[in-house]
């Protein structure tokens, strides 16, 4: 018996795994986890201290018995549980039209920049890497400390400070986008964006083999696209591949993508490319 069922619930169900799912499913919260109240409330008024509601938790626990029965039966019989519903293609536009499509400013590294909000009173110690706050604008701040993948014993080396490494295409593409025609759609559709990237995706994926990337490695690229021409005005690798040969290779490939013209002066798109 393979471990396909344990991996993604395909193949023949492993009886022991299915039994463990049925039993341990009872440890899930009975109620859907509710997000904390955030956004404007002082910290001391935010949802805290559920310990005071112990009586409520006990009542909920008792009421959940019937729900748990149904959950156990469902989990036990689940052999063809539907996969995650396909996400509708929604390439996300991250730059509002007012954000100028300029080369990322070579922002100085400010180690002691003010945090986004008042420092947390959390007594349990510092959270990962307090670099300067960023805006949504295409400025490229320095990298934070690398995220720790729990099972991967990679050495956590400090990252070099990033300078402006956004790729700027030379020649006519470098010109500022002219005001687009008023009858064009505001932005390209997600499908149009996908189709445009599809035209250069093979070249981008070839970077993986060229630079020794493991299959499954994800390279995030931030694209700035001019509305009047549909051409990429900036292509920047982000995340752990920023400034790396692999990142630059993928960015160079995506830079050649040609999009349909649209109404906004420019948009920003983040597109992850997975190496085969």
């Amino acid at each position: 018996m393979t471990d396909d069922y344990l991996w993604d619930r395909t193949g023949d169900p492993d009886p022991e795994v299915a039994r463990l799912e049925a039993t341990l499913g009872a440890l899930r919260p009975c109620e859907p986890l509710r997000p904390p109240v955030v956004g404007g409330l002082p910290r001391h008024l935010q949802v805290l201290a559920p310990a005071r509601a112990t009586w409520k938790r006990t009542a909920v626990t008792a009421l959940c018995a019937a729900a748990a029965t149904a959950a156990l039966v469902w989990a036990w019989n689940a052999t063809t549980r539907s996969a995650v519903a396909p996400v509708a293609p929604t390439i996300v536009i991250v730059n509002p039209p007012s954000v100028p499509v300029a080369a990322p400013a070579p922002a100085a590294v400010e180690e002691d920049a003010a945090p986004r909000s008042n420092a947390s009173n959390d007594p349990s110690g510092p959270e990962p890497a307090p670099p300067p706050p960023t805006s949504v604008a295409p400025a490229e701040p320095p990298a934070a400390e690398p995220p720790l993948a729990p099972t991967e014993a990679r050495p956590v080396a400090p990252r070099p400070k990033r300078t402006a490494t956004a790729r700027r295409p030379a020649g006519p593409r470098h010109e500022t986008a002219a005001r687009p025609a008023p009858d064009l759609p505001d932005t390209p559709t997600a499908q149009e964006i996908k189709d445009a990237v599809a035209g250069v995706k093979a070249e981008a994926e070839a970077c993986g083999g060229r630079h020794g990337a493991l299959p499954g490695t994800k390279v995030g690229i931030k694209l700035s696209i001019a509305g009047s021409t549909g051409r990429v005005t900036a292509s920047t690798p982000v995340g752990e591949h920023a400034g790396t040969p692999l990142g630059e290779c993928v960015a160079a490939a995506l830079e050649k993508a040609e999009f349909p013209r649209f109404g906004r002066a420019s948009i920003g798109v983040q597109y992850p490319v997975k190496m085969p």
Binding site: W7, L27, P35, V47, A68, T90, S117, P150, T151, G239
Partner: protein, 189 residues
Amino acid sequence: MERQARQAWDAAEEAEALGETWADIEAAAAGDTAAFERLYRAYAPMVHAIAIAHAPHPEGEDIVQDVFITAWHQLGRLQDLAAFGSWLAQIGRRRAIDRLRRRRPTEPLVEEPVAATSTSQAAEAVAILGAIRTLAPAYRETLVMRLVHGMTGPEIAMKTGMTAGSVRVNLHRGMTQLRRALQGGRSDD
């Protein structure tokens, strides 16, 4: 061929979902509470799994709330959007371990009964979770995500930022060790 097609589709779906997540992260960092709520719903099960993999499960929901309040306040400092899941996981792990350490030494580690159809099922669930907690942290977290919250391997990889290969190894080895631990427990009865 069918498996390859499915894998290609999964990869495309994952790319789409990542694109959405990154946009939500940026929007939430700019103060968009609706985007933050979407991130919460997407990542709360992962954080809850990490919480109960280390701390007593009744504290799991408290830890989840705490983690996301912290994330809300510090999201603007996150430079690498692709690291959001692993960043959240780190915070959750730290919170859970802090909770465990703050318990007074004489305070017994008593698990409250879970919502189950019978006391024996509740006891069995708690006992199995106890056995999972004896495993290495990487194995226990991945197993809890899979067996408690029903996350598939690809989902775990996407949410935590681990490679699919690492997740698969963790699940396989963790399950092997768990079987051994449970058999040892049964033979002791």
